[in-house]
C-alpha cells in the first residue's frame, strides 16, 4: 500500500459522502438506567462497580 501514489486522491471522511445531519435536541428515548445497571456484572443503585483503583 505504501507504494501507491495517492497525491491526487481526496481523503474519504465518510462512507456516504454526506455530512452528518443535525436534529432537534429532544428526548427521544426512555431512560433505561435500572435495566442497564441490572445487567452489569457488579453495580449498586446508581453506579457500575469495578475493583478499587486508588489505594
Amino acid at each position: 500500500l505504501n507504494d501507491v501514489d495517492t497525491s491526487d486522491i481526496e481523503p474519504l471522511t465518510n462512507p456516504l459522502e454526506k455530512t452528518a445531519k443535525t436534529r432537534d435536541d429532544q428526548v427521544t428515548a426512555q431512560n433505561l438506567k435500572q435495566e442497564l445497571l441490572e445487567i452489569a456484572p457488579s453495580s449498586n443503585e446508581d453506579y457500575f462497580l469495578v475493583p478499587r483503583v486508588v489505594e
Binding site: 462512507p15 436534529r23 428515548a29 445487567i39 452489569a40 456484572p41 457500575f48 475493583p51 478499587r52 483503583v53
Partner: protein, 346 residues
C-alpha cells in the same frame, strides 16, 4: 404439508389458503432444528415466545408483509429479553434491554424470530470455526464449512429449517456464506439499513442484509429491513424503493462488466465453470457482456486490513467486563480485570 425448503412466498400462500396454521409452522421449525442439531446453526432458541406469537396470529390473522414467517436472527443483533452472544464467551450471559432497529422492523412486519444463529466470534471469520459455541456445519456435506461470519444463518436456510435469516456483512459475511451454502444473500448499500443495536465490528463497513432461498424473498425482506433511523447517524435519509418492483424486468440492453483482472487459475474447475455458466445465462437473458479492468483491485484486501482492524480495535474496547457481559472472577485490580477479558478474546 411441510415448510421444509419452502420460500417465504410459498409459506405466505400456505397460511392464506389455510393449509397450515401459524402454530404448526413454528412447531415444525423447532422439530427441524432438533433434527439438524448436528449443524450447530443455532445458539439460542426463542420457542416459548414464538409459539405464543403464532397462537396470537392464529386467533387474529394478519395481513402484514411477514405475518407468521419464521426467521432466524444472527446472534449479532440485540434482541430485547433474548440472549445475544455474538459468538463469544464474553457475552454468553448478555440479555439486551432493547432490540436492534432491524429486528424491530422485521418483527413489526409480523415475522417470528425463532432463534439466534451461530456465527464467527464478533463476526471475525469466514468459516464459522471461531465461535465459542462450536463450529457450524454446511448441510451440503459434513466436511464442508458453511462460510462466515453469518454461517449459522446460511446453514439454517440451506437446510430448509427456516425460509430466511438475517445476516451482517463487513467484508463478505453475508455474501460468502450464502454462496458456500447455495442460497441467496446480499449486502445492501451502506446506510440503507440502520446499524442501531448491531454489535459493531468495523462501523464504516458493517451493514445488515437478508439471506433467503430466492432473490424474490431477499427483496421482500429488504423492503422491511430498510429504514431511516435517527439513532444511526450514517442511516440514509433517502426514499426507499419497493425492491420487488423490478424483479422481473428484462435484462435486454443491460451491460454487465466482466472483470478481467480476476485470477481464476487458483479456483476449482467446478467453481470456474459455475462462474462461466452464469455469464452465459446472463447472455441468454439478453444482457451484453463487456470486459472491464479494475486496476486497483489488488489493493482492496490490504486496504480492508487497515480499515477493519483499526475500527474493530476501537469497537471491541467496550467489552471490558464493566457494564455488561462476563467479568473475570475476583480480579485484584482494574488492570487485571481488563487483561483477563482480553485474554478471553484470544
Amino acid at each position: 404439508v411441510t415448510i421444509k425448503y419452502k420460500t417465504i412466498k410459498e409459506i405466505k400462500k400456505m397460511i392464506s389458503q389455510k393449509e397450515i396454521s401459524n402454530k404448526e409452522i413454528v412447531q415444525e421449525v423447532y422439530k427441524l432444528i432438533n433434527e439438524n442439531s448436528h449443524l450447530n446453526a443455532f445458539v439460542t432458541l426463542n420457542e416459548e415466545n414464538s409459539l405464543k406469537q403464532a397462537d396470537n396470529l392464529d386467533n387474529n390473522p394478519s395481513e402484514m408483509a411477514l405475518a407468521g414467517i419464521p426467521i432466524a436472527q444472527k446472534d449479532l443483533f440485540c434482541t430485547k429479553g433474548l440472549r445475544t452472544t455474538c459468538g463469544s464467551k464474553i457475552l454468553d450471559n448478555f440479555i439486551p434491554p432493547y432490540s436492534a432497529t432491524v429486528i424491530e422492523n422485521l418483527e413489526n412486519a409480523g415475522c417470528i424470530s425463532v432463534g439466534k444463529t451461530n456465527m464467527d466470534e464478533f463476526a471475525m471469520g469466514s468459516s464459522n470455526e471461531t465461535s465459542y459455541f462450536g463450529n457450524v456445519h454446511n448441510p451440503w456435506g459434513d466436511k464442508l464449512v458453511p462460510g462466515g461470519s453469518s454461517g449459522g444463518s446460511a446453514s439454517a436456510v440451506a437446510a430448509g429449517i427456516v425460509p430466511a435469516a438475517s445476516g451482517t456483512d463487513t467484508g463478505g459475511s453475508i455474501r460468502q456464506p450464502a454462496s458456500l451454502c447455495g442460497i441467496t444473500g446480499l449486502k445492501p448499500t451502506y446506510g440503507r439499513v440502520s446499524r442501531w443495536g448491531m454489535i459493531a465490528f468495523a462501523s464504516s463497513l458493517d451493514q445488515a442484509g437478508p439471506m433467503a432461498r430466492t432473490v424474490e424473498d431477499c427483496a421482500l425482506l429488504l423492503n422491511e429491513m430498510c429504514s431511516h433511523d435517527i439513532k444511526d447517524t450514517t442511516s440514509l435519509d433517502e426514499d426507499i424503493p419497493n425492491f420487488e418492483n423490478d424483479l422481473n424486468q428484462s435484462l435486454k440492453g443491460k451491460k454487465i462488466g466482466v472483470v478481467k483482472d480476476l485470477d481464476l487459475s487458483s479456483l476449482d474447475n467446478d467453481v470456474v465453470s459455475v462462474y462461466e455458466d452464469s455469464l452465459n445465462e446472463f447472455v441468454s437473458l439478453g444482457a451484453e457482456l463487456k470486459d472491464i479492468s479494475l486496476p486497483n483491485l489488488a489493493l482492496s484486501v490490504p486496504t480492508y486490513y487497515v480499515v477493519a482492524p483499526a475500527e474493530c480495535s476501537s469497537n471491541l474496547s467496550r467489552f471490558d467486563g464493566v457494564k455488561f457481559g462476563r467479568r473475570s472472577e475476583n480480579p485484584k485490580d482494574l488492570e487485571e480485570l481488563f487483561c483477563r477479558i482480553l485474554r478471553c478474546l484470544l
